[in-house]
């Protein structure tokens, strides 16, 4: 419950403060969101599996964001930014889907 409250608090702060993100950072925002979602769903699955660990969660979130951003940055420099962004989204998307499937099995036995 407390993590959910923290999550909503963060979203509310972000929406209320409306900080202007510099233009060079904007291509990384969707990637960061996908990486964050992946970490969150992984954490929910770990909680349901009974093996949650806060340090692993924080590190997996940070490393997801950093690696995804680095891949996109590298792709931009190499001229294949869009393709590598797609690759990152596909990989993280598959992980999110199967994590959600595992969560569904836990919650609904289906």
């Amino acid at each position: 419950m407390i993590p959910a409250i923290g999550l909503s608090l963060g979203i509310i702060i972000g929406l209320l403060l409306q900080p202007a993100v510099p233009v060079w950072l904007q291509p990384y925002l969707p990637i960061a969101v996908i990486a964050a979602l992946d970490a969150v769903f992984g954490a929910v699955r770990a909680i349901l599996d009974g093996i949650f660990d806060d340090k692993v969660f924080v590190i997996s979130f940070l490393s997801n964001v950093i690696v995804a951003a680095f891949i996109v940055f590298l792709g931009d420099k190499l001229g294949v930014g869009a393709q590598l962004s797609t690759g990152v989204v596909v990989v993280l998307g598959v992980r999110i889907f199967s994590n959600v499937a595992a969560i569904r099995r836990h919650l609904f036995d289906a």
Partner: protein, 299 residues
């Protein structure tokens, strides 16, 4: 997994990347950390109340919130600028309309005054005659109106997105040019399109996807008003090249064409009938004589 593989090699060996991605999406470090904790005699799962976790969740929420705000409002300045530009265009257009109306009124007054000043001699008659012919005065008389409109399907946005296909059913500048030329050919004495009088210097052309007559964009439907001999002119047009062209447009491209013969139609005076560089040379005077140009430059 009751089916046994005939060989040692698993059947999905060629898809190991996909299987590992689909079957172990969870970070193995969760399981590793749980095993480690269990070995140390602590519970497998940590508490959900650790400050580190709360900070991380707030951070994730912040990322999501900031991203959703920034990504949804990215188009805001663009749409603002667009609305502003549209407003400017409309302002200017209504300004032009007002000034056109003013110019028409002034031109009418000028023609009246010229007539008063010149009296009724041969020169005045010649002025009136020329003014009628070049389009400086509004005219009325028998004639007919041609209403051209895009094919019913091409007007919608869906068709416009199809690119080239959308042009199939649209009235083009070429069509209006052909039709007006055919009108002159079959004996039209005055022609206007959507209330714009065509003169010797009028141009019908395309600017982007808009039809432009005398530098003013027109909107559909295009109403062509032509004055001429009621007995001969409509029949001559219908039997001539113009009628053939219109029926081709109608049958092949679905363009809507509507012809209406009328006893009394009005064609407005042309606006801005000024020559800036060309001068009349028959008298050798430096200023053009009032008889040769109905423009206000002489007064």
């Amino acid at each position: 997994m009751t089916r046994s593989a005939p060989t040692d090699r698993p059947p999905d060996a060629s898809m190991t990347l996909l299987t590992s991605m689909l079957q172990r999406p969870l970070d193995p470090s969760y399981a590793a950390a749980a095993d480690r904790r269990e070995a140390q005699g602590r519970p497998r799962s940590t508490s959900l109340r650790s400050p580190l976790l709360i900070i991380a969740t707030v951070l994730i929420g912040l990322v999501v919130g900031v991203a959703s705000y920034n990504l949804t409002t990215a188009n805001k300045p663009r749409s603002q600028a667009r609305a502003e530009l549209i407003g400017q265009i409309q302002d200017r257009r209504s300004e032009v309309d007002a000034m056109t109306a003013q110019a028409t009124t002034l031109q009418g007054q000028l023609t009246d005054l010229e007539g008063e000043q010149l009296g009724n001699d041969a020169l005045a008659n010649r002025t009136r005659e020329l003014a009628t012919q070049v389009g400086a005065v509004p005219l009325h008389g028998p004639g007919f109106t041609l209403t051209l409109d895009d094919a019913p399907t091409s007007g919608s946005d869906a068709a416009a997105e199809n690119g080239g296909q959308a042009d199939q059913g649209k009235v083009l500048a070429k069509d209006l040019q052909y039709v007006t030329n055919a009108l002159w050919e079959s004996g039209a004495e005055a022609v206007s399109i959507n209330g714009k009088r065509l003169t010797a210097t009028s141009a019908i052309r395309f600017a982007g996807s808009a039809l432009v007559v005398d530098y003013r964009p027109l909107t559909r439907p295009y109403v062509v008003t032509a004055l001429g001999d009621p007995k001969r002119f409509p029949a001559a047009f219908a039997d001539g090249a113009g009628g053939t062209y219109l029926s081709t447009l109608r049958n092949t491209f679905g363009i809507r064409v509507d012809t209406k013969v009328s006893d009394d139609l009005t064609v407005p005076a042309a606006v801005g009938l000024t020559t800036r560089y060309a001068r009349s040379g028959d008298t050798g005077e430096s200023t053009p004589s009032p008889g040769t140009t109905p423009s206000p430059t002489a007064s």
